[in-house]
Symmetry: C2
Subunit: 147 residues, 2 copies
């Protein structure tokens, strides 16, 4: 688990972050190594758990999920962290759940079709019984490193 990472590894991660489908032969000249050496480094980054996977980036607004919102949730004092994540992640509109130290207890990222849909998801949380308060933060726009 002693993750020993050098500058070449960091450069490879940066290249893959910008384009996860970049080929080894494309990256090799950029880092000054042979194709096989690049593959071995990327394989190693996967093996030691620094690279956890690859994924596609999707413009959900074009798929009809036009609204993004964060919801701050507070739970009953008896609720465990696992129970918070379980109840939130069960809804298909929930994209991510972050448990928080302090107040609120969790920050949930939602993607919904429209305002009525948003209302419906918030109601579902409140009806769950364990949530004691919600605060909705509607996202106007997002910037993300790389992407």
């Amino acid at each position: 688990m002693a993750a020993e990472i050098d500058e070449t590894d960091r450069l490879l991660l940066r290249l893959l972050r910008a384009d996860g489908r970049r080929t080894y032969s494309e990256m090799a000249p950029e880092v000054g190594l042979s194709v096989a050496a690049v593959k071995r480094r990327v394989d190693r980054l996967r093996d030691i758990g620094i690279i956890t996977g690859f994924t596609v980036q999707v413009d959900y607004a074009r798929l009809g999920w036009g609204i993004e919102a964060f919801i701050e949730l507070s739970f009953l004092g008896s609720t465990t962290v696992d129970a918070m994540v379980d109840s939130a992640s069960a809804m298909p509109e929930v994209q991510a759940v972050h448990t928080i130290a302090g107040d609120p207890d969790a920050l949930v990222l939602l993607r919904v079709r429209d305002i009525a849909h948003l209302q419906q998801v918030i109601d579902a949380f409140r009806r769950g019984g364990k949530v004691t308060s919600t605060k909705t933060l509607m996202v106007l726009g997002s910037w993300s490193r790389d992407s």
Copy 2:
């Protein structure tokens, strides 16, 4: 721009979300098409802007960036949305900036090495002059759809 998406496209997106490096030959039997047809569909999803890119998923904790935190920022009334994003995204610790309708004005995702580093980033925001208040939400754990 009339993004007409059918069930096969949705399935391909789901497969690529779980593994963005999945090969066309691997996906072809799963959707019941030929390899070339799958490639043409994925190319089309990129062309019409539904697929915006591919990226690698990294475990930043193993890279020494052990702490994740959200910061809610309120800005002076005269600050434009672009100025908020510009000032936040200039810091390397900032991973994402979401501008918000209402209060606060922005929600910023940070990754820092330790608490001292977090303190330092928060101070940088406050010293910027345009931020009128901050609230820090320290992340204990995160769940993300797929990933």
